[in-house]
Symmetry: C2
Subunit: 163 residues, 2 copies
């Protein structure tokens, strides 16, 4: 399926029936808190999977939104479709379990980074995790991923460019 920049793949409160594999483009998963502020959980570029996984796994309503931020091509697969495939092809279950393990490890890294790293260190981790993404995304996307203001992000970039 194809998605245009600015289109939403998923909105909060929708039931989450699919997960998506990105072959091209860029999307982001974000959460809107009670005060209306956006917090970016994840970006997805080529070969990444994206969904509101908490909702997808528990068959509950989304708390996240997923927005296309650069024209994208995606494949989608439903939970039911996956379970059927796993019964037919057990190796696929192994594949998805391993993918899950890597995703879990990257979330562990992100939690630790939030607890132990300075904003500048988090920015450097970000550009390592998502190389070449900076030209595709808006500054406030990155700032809301790092948990800082866009002003702080500009300051960090300036400091970083000086070196």
């Amino acid at each position: 399926m194809a998605l245009k920049k600015g289109e939403n793949l998923l909105e909060a409160n929708e039931t989450v029936l699919h997960q998506y594999y990105v072959t091209q483009g860029c999307l982001r998963t974000y959460f809107i808190d009670q005060s209306g502020k956006e917090h970016t959980l994840q970006f997805a570029i080529n070969d990444w999977w994206i969904s509101d996984y908490t909702a997808f796994f528990s068959k509950s309503q989304a708390i996240m939104n997923i927005e296309c931020i650069q024209d994208a091509s995606l494949y989608k697969i439903s939970k039911k479709g996956m379970e059927e495939l796993f019964l037919k092809i057990p190796q696929l279950e192994t594949f998805f379990r391993k993918k899950m393990e890597r995703a879990f490890a990257s979330f562990q890294k992100r939690i630790l980074s939030g607890l132990s790293q300075s904003a500048k260190e988090r920015y450097l981790s970000f550009i390592k995790t998502y190389p070449n993404i900076e030209q595709s995304v808006k500054n406030y996307h990155i700032a809301s991923y790092l948990g800082i203001t866009t002003e702080s992000l500009s300051r960090i970039r300036r400091d970083n460019a000086k070196k």
Copy 2:
């Protein structure tokens, strides 16, 4: 296996060969940053699994430490043992994939909570996630889980008790 309060199950830089299932007691996984400060990623009480999962999955060295903070009983299983069991009993792979999905969802919640919640809200989430854990753990364990100082934790508790 049994572990006494104060004993380490795992130390940073060790190779991680096992994951552990806690039947009794309490453990915590923590990271020591370059300045020597501790950051608690996770507690494990009855029926929780614990390991340095990033290292366990990728067969690399631990970056986390795991400490027993209340006398504990554990079962351990190696990665090799798991892979062998999965081949014999495919249902077990399904069980572990689902456990992984729940763990992933709880990490997603923790990342969002770090990005969007105040220290007080994070404290309230913590006591909901780990009911009755407060008497078993030290204040600095909880503070290092919430990413705040022990002074802030005391203030939040005082405010909370007043209501």
